[in-house]
């Protein structure tokens, strides 16, 4: 295996494009080194991108934040303004692994790994986050929801890698939340998960709602009907029931060593309900 720290973004993209063998990107390394150890992948080329400009920065931009692809979960957890604006996104990232993993893991890496249960992904999706992608031909912006394409797969072309993720501004009286189900209290891969992002009007009525569920399909799912069920409500029983029904209907999980189809479907609905209530309360709503 060759290990390279390219001088700039373009050089990195060219290296990746031109590699005939297997290449991997090294950001936090908390997924790729596990794969190396399991002999699931044997890269010929490992491209370390952490040192490139801006990769470790969290910068305010247009009322939101641009988060460099090498920013760790720990860094995000220490950023008060980011946490205040997108608490659900940050709490999702902060749930990845242990304190040790948090020191290194990145939301960009978690996204690109393409695990259906990636903890950072549902809340990024409901936030409408946008990934900035560097390629050999230049830069393009891609909504985060379009990056994962299946278990272990993403939509990036050869030579492309994410350089930052943009979390947009949001109005007052808006917030989000992320919950996952795991059998222990830490250290597990999510068996099911849900993120909800809400905007409320002055009376506490939901004016916009996005609901995404994870670990219950080959990729994260943005469940339109679930969001619609909450609009014009104050999260009364009927709205919640609609949310849960839409979530359960959208689930398409498998039965494996972590959970059964029934369990995943049932708990995804429960988590969506609970996440909605937390987001609502954070946004200033009174249930």
């Amino acid at each position: 295996m060759r290990y390279v720290k390219p001088e700039n973004f373009e050089a990195a993209a060219r290296l990746l494009r031109d590699e005939d063998g297997v290449s991997r990107i090294l950001a936090g390394g908390t997924d790729v080194l596990v794969q190396l150890k399991a002999e699931v992948v044997e890269p010929d080329l490992m491209v370390d991108i952490k040192h490139l400009p801006g990769m470790r920065d969290i910068l305010a931009e247009d009322g939101g934040f641009r988060i460099g692809a090498a920013v760790s979960g720990a860094q995000m957890g220490e950023h008060d303004a980011l946490k205040a604006l997108w608490p659900g996104v940050v709490e999702g990232v902060e749930l990845i692994g242990s304190s040790q993993v948090q020191s290194r893991a990145t939301m960009a890496g978690n996204l690109c790994t393409g695990s259906p249960s990636g903890d950072s992904v549902p809340a990024m999706v409901t936030a409408g986050a946008v990934a900035r992608v560097q390629g050999p031909g230049g830069i393009r912006d891609v909504p985060v929801v379009d990056i994962p394409t299946g278990p272990g797969k993403n939509s990036l072309a050869k030579g492309e890698f994410i350089t930052s993720i943009f979390l947009p501004a949001r109005p007052d009286r808006a917030s989000d939340a992320y919950l996952r189900f795991i059998p222990r209290t830490e250290m597990d891969i999510a068996v099911s998960s849900a993120a909800v992002s809400l905007e409320l009007d002055g009376d506490g009525v939901v004016t916009a709602a996005h609901v995404a569920i994870g670990a219950v399909a080959p990729t994260v799912l943005l469940v339109k009907d679930a969001g619609t069920a909450l609009i014009r409500s104050k999260l009364e029983e009927a709205a919640i029931a609609g949310l849960v029904a839409a979530v359960e209907a959208a689930c398409n999980p498998i039965t494996d060593k972590r959970g059964t189809i029934e369990f995943r479907t049932k708990t995804a609905g429960v988590l969506a309900k609970r996440a909605a209530r937390i987001a609502y309360s954070r946004a200033g709503g009174q249930a």
């Binding site: 295996m1 060759r2 290990y3 090294l26 390394g29 908390t30 080194l33 596990v34 190396l36 150890k37 399991a38 490992m46 370390d48 760790s72 720990a74 692994g97 242990s98 304190s99 040790q100 993993v101 020191s103 290194r104 209290t185 830490e186 250290m187």
Partner: protein, 158 residues
């Protein structure tokens, strides 16, 4: 595969080594530098027995490449005591019987020290969640949490 030369700082001392690109920092510490305090319990970041500090943050050294140590500051369990004076955490762990077989202890001490540097007055719950990535199979964690709190109180008072 050729080896790559790496210059780094370990426990305040400069260190140089050669390693292959695919060797982990844990492999390098144990096999090339003779620093066997960090242990391999799983090799996959699930047990924390390999915990070290990398540029001021606690990491699993099994999930860091050896070559990433270039220019970095690394602290291992071997650097925690000051000559023959144990760090309060180390001393209190012995006094409070917070170890039985001791194999998870280096990782837990490194992680606990990192916690107290960030948060000198944590609640029990905060300690437990911070240390969730450090598995212990012998103690049931009870005496470990108590020892961390006793050391924390002493470090706040001192």
């Amino acid at each position: 595969m050729k080896t790559i030369p790496v210059e780094t700082t370990i426990n305040g001392d400069s260190a140089e080594f050669l390693c292959h690109a695919d060797e982990s920092l844990l492999d390098v510490l144990r096999d090339r530098l003779g620093l066997t305090g960090a242990k391999e319990g799983c090799g996959t970041g699930d047990c924390g027995a390999c915990s070290v500090m990398l540029n001021g943050r606690v990491v699993c050294s099994c999930l860091v490449l050896g070559v990433e140590a270039q220019g970095a500051e690394i602290e291992t369990i071997e650097g925690m005591a000051n000559g023959e004076t144990l760090h309060p955490l180390q001393r209190v762990f012995i006094e409070e019987a917070a170890l039985q077989c001791g194999v998870c202890t280096p990782g837990i001490l490194v992680a606990a020290k990192a916690l107290l540097e960030k948060n000198p007055d944590p609640t029990d719950t905060e300690v437990r969640y911070w240390l969730a990535g450090n598995l212990c199979r012998c103690t049931g964690y009870d005496k470990i949490i108590k020892a961390v709190q006793i050391a924390a109180a002493e470090m706040r008072g001192a």
